[in-house]
Symmetry: D2
Subunit: 342 residues, 4 copies
């Protein structure tokens, strides 16, 4: 069975494994204060086009989200998220477990709008309600869409005007940055947000996320806060080496583009056979709408999630490609639809 379940099914890009093996017998400093992590941070600073940022490596996305949000908010502050935001639905209340309400605003295909953010802010008028202090967005979103430069700038403006922090969850940032709809550079993002993370787990690393703190006031004592949440790894160099591998040249971006290319091919096949999409194809997550019987047949050869029941006879499914998706897997999908639709 070929899996299109997600982008974290395979191990790591071979270069990462090779560099881990090569460094294996070195004696590295603990807790991320090693030379590899240091070099990786230098590469990342070049990539984001800024020297005056703080960079920390963490193990996973939910962990990064909860460390970031709980570190920068006072107890009465809430974070605003789209209804579909990962922190709202799929983190088992991780943010609330640190004491903060996630206030939901309606999203458009997974994306927050400045209007929706302003509406939430306006609704929270006094001390009987939480005080909005941070906006959480993901890019690409949980529905595979991306923010344009104009959209991100508008959100930046509404945050700035109201004194809110802007946090970008980049678990799938590589895919976002390399998709055709994208008009944002990494340095644009580092300029428009206060804190951002670049996902490694979903883009070819065994594990690891690179958190970039752009806003000066947020930098203080951050290692304490990582440690307190159990997120400061003794062998921090294991993540440092991986980001060194990903950013010493443009590997990180090539892997993201590969996932997008494979998704584009699949989208083309589906369009050829006349299928529509729950959300327009954009990055490495596709949401085609298929008849129930086709879904059933597909499930005999491929793994994927059902996203949503559309009507009595149709379902939107989710197909995810990754840095590791092969042409062969795409061809097998083509063959399936050739058979199913003949």
């Amino acid at each position: 069975m070929i899996s299109f379940l997600n982008d974290y099914s395979e191990g790591a890009h071979p270069r990462i494994l090779a560099m881990l093996a090569q460094a294996n017998w070195e004696q590295n400093e603990g807790y991320g204060q090693d030379a590899h992590s240091q070099r990786a941070k230098e590469y990342l600073k070049q990539a984001v086009g800024r020297e005056n940022v703080d960079i920390h490596f963490l193990a996973g996305g939910t962990q990064t989200n909860l460390v970031v949000i709980s570190s920068f908010l006072r107890p009465h502050h809430c974070v605003i998220s789209a209804e579909t935001g990962h922190i709202n639905v799929h983190e088992t209340g991780a943010i609330e477990a640190t004491g903060h309400k996630v206030v939901v605003a309606p999203g458009e295909q997974g994306k927050l709008t400045p209007e929706a953010i302003q509406t939430v802010i306006d609704y929270h008028t006094d001390e009987h309600m939480v005080l909005p202090k941070m906006v959480y967005i993901s890019n690409s979103t949980e529905l595979g869409t991306v923010y344009t430069k104009a959209e991100l700038t508008a959100i930046h403006e509404v945050c700035k005007k109201n004194g809110l922090l802007l946090f970008l969850d980049g678990a799938r940032l590589a895919s976002a940055l390399t998709c055709k709809a994208n008009d944002l550079t990494l340095s644009d993002k580092a300029r428009l947000v206060d804190v951002i993370y670049l996902g490694g787990t979903k883009n070819g690393a065994l594990l690891g996320e690179a958190l970039v703190i752009c806003k000066e006031e947020l930098k203080e004592d951050f290692r304490y806060l990582i440690k307190q949440r159990g997120a400061l790894m003794a062998k921090g160099f294991v993540i440092g080496i991986q980001f060194e591998a990903l950013f010493q040249d443009d590997l990180y971006f090539r892997l993201g583009k590969h996932a997008n290319d494979m998704a584009e091919k699949i989208a083309a096949i589906l369009k050829d056979y006349g299928y529509s999409f729950y959300v327009p194809p954009c990055t490495n997550q596709l949401f085609p709408i298929l008849p129930g019987e086709t879904v059933d047949k597909l499930a005999q050869e491929f793994k994927f999630y059902i996203q949503k029941k559309i009507d009595d006879r149709h379902y939107a499914i989710r197909l995810v490609t990754s840095w590791a998706t092969t042409q062969e897997s795409v061809d097998r999908l083509r063959q399936f639809f050739a058979g199913a639709c003949s």
Copy 2:
């Protein structure tokens, strides 16, 4: 410079790297529900001699401690720890951050006693004080000592009598189980404690701890609680494979024994040159007492921590060996003392 700073300076045992490479292109289930994790759990059940335990893989020690303690206590419950316990001093208040007080009892060379535990219990008499509900011990301890079977049994008894849970932090369990002073088997431990973890990070894995829940009532919904603390890794198989590698035969124990053997050789050298110890040598952590000038010279060739100032002229230092410590490093230390003491 040769480092005796800790047991997490090097990467991973070569077999682990080989197995990660071998599995690299497989498409594994996410979140630890893959075949490797499953096999690793089977091996671990054999190792602990029980089928009716639940096993979960986590990324690190502080993370495991905070997930365990916060999951099994109600809000008004506290956990009892030795003063030297890792959760008391070196986790940046991670346990308190989940809402629970760590109540300290005096330890003897890092070990809790039943008497000290009972004293804490007796002191907490009413609802104006927290209610002791769990005892936290580490084995080997933060001072390198180990519990004997009699000692652990006595602690088990005092816990049972008072309705307290017993949690054993086994970050350095491999070293504890394979040291000469040890008279406990892994299955003894699984019988005497309610929950225990077997450390991988400090015994040859890139990262990972294997948590074993022995008590039936504690098993419910544990994956929710892992997820909520950001500790459920998308690529859980990365840890699963490593524990598969460590437990498919006796590699885990051989690595622990290697660390102990190297420590024993170093202890012998130090004794030969007449040095005494802050705590008697037992496992892979040594605490020799050296004159200040010797410490200074040693620091020019070797990395290590100063544990404690003993008097105006002497310091206890900490030397830690690991699964990766080489005979050459031991020999270099021997040469140093031969020179320093000639």
Copy 3:
């Protein structure tokens, strides 16, 4: 200016003040273990028709809600509330501050339905999402409506079937129990819910809520949990005396009925003048819909909140009566509308 802002503007029923004065020089046990609190609990047990309940006195509503919810849930559990539920909107994230997500279900005029509850339960399918474990309802609701016996029974059933606790916030229970639409007795409620509180603050006490724990498993150690949240009052007898005063006969219910009677008179006036209501009048909170200019004029003589803008020319306002509302205040309102509508 006459205030219809709320039901906590005045002090306390004279009998309460008299009993406080009478007991003033007694030396009472601290922390609620005095004879007055004991007697008040006996009266309350008679009122709820059960002996096997535990009763505790707390200072206020938000405090009671957060103590209850945080005491009975494990960290990964959430509580289900109507969108309009007090814990969702008007407690500054008090529940989330104790670590728990409030999951919202659509309400009907402030009331939850079994269908909405079941939908939330069904949506939460795995460990990546919080686990619903408690349902929070208020009666009367934040919109002044009440649950019928059939409705509460149906909610009880859906909770029981799914293993959820049912918590009834009775900040305005006296008004609910004595309104014409009510067909529930206090003992019905104590049978159908797991935990309930009877509000004193909004029904003639200086402060105080009486929490009744009906479910055996929830009783353990509850005083610890009150204390930990800063809610165990040194002079607990101050609340005990007040509930003694309210429940030694039917004063509690008479005060609730008085508020309802005053509201009914006001509703009749408003209906006479042809106004409709945002929510049908039922208890002591009225939500008439008035033209903007009438609202402006009314605001020159009376205090009240604007609940919602209905359309460009109309607003729903909130008028609240209380145990202390006078006939004179009602008459003044009548005069106002006589003038405004002539």
Copy 4:
């Protein structure tokens, strides 16, 4: 039986009851925004000799402590307390429940020293440990002792030098300020600390503590934080009126002095009969050391706590006087000792 258990056994000073009765039918603004609370704040500003402070009324001591500490610390910050500090032992982990470690420093007769504080600060060297950010002291202390101006100034200096906040728990401040050993004025205190509360519950109020925030940076959004912890009372005027009564003239201080005077008389009696003290008498808490048989006899006529077993034959007991202690009660105690020692 006459009780010397505590200073919260009786109701309230008659003037307080009278003023509550007088204001009973007023319609006051909710949540502490009424005219009485406003006036009480003006009186308090005069009493502390500063206009630029923020004042809030809360219901009790543990509540005030947890709101203050959790509001002003970031997650990785700890608070330093004497071993005997109320927050360390007698609040059921209330501070830890908000996420913060209480780090203990040895006290001298209940008082912290600058040296002990500095030692704790020096010990916390890196991000693996919590970061000290606040010092908590009580005055009078849990052992009835008071800080001198020199002592408080020295603590102020060590806090300032190290960037720590200084919080003074004044549950028994009236007694501290009016005892003979005191050389501090209320305005001295407001100058030397960052935040302080003046206890009402233990000095003649039914309930209530007046929190004074002296440091500008701590004032922001504080009402949100009160509300979130369930501490913003709907009928806030009930506490406002009481502090109006206590501070419209010097009643607050007279009540404190009365308690001290009664204690002084009792101390004189005990000294007359040759008893020594566990801690030298100073304020309204006395800790005489009595033989076991005397303790037993005393317990037949009086209520009190046993503080500590001194040796096989002697116990230190605690006798507490209050604003309500009568000369008759003192005389009865004198008669007892006359009889017991004849």
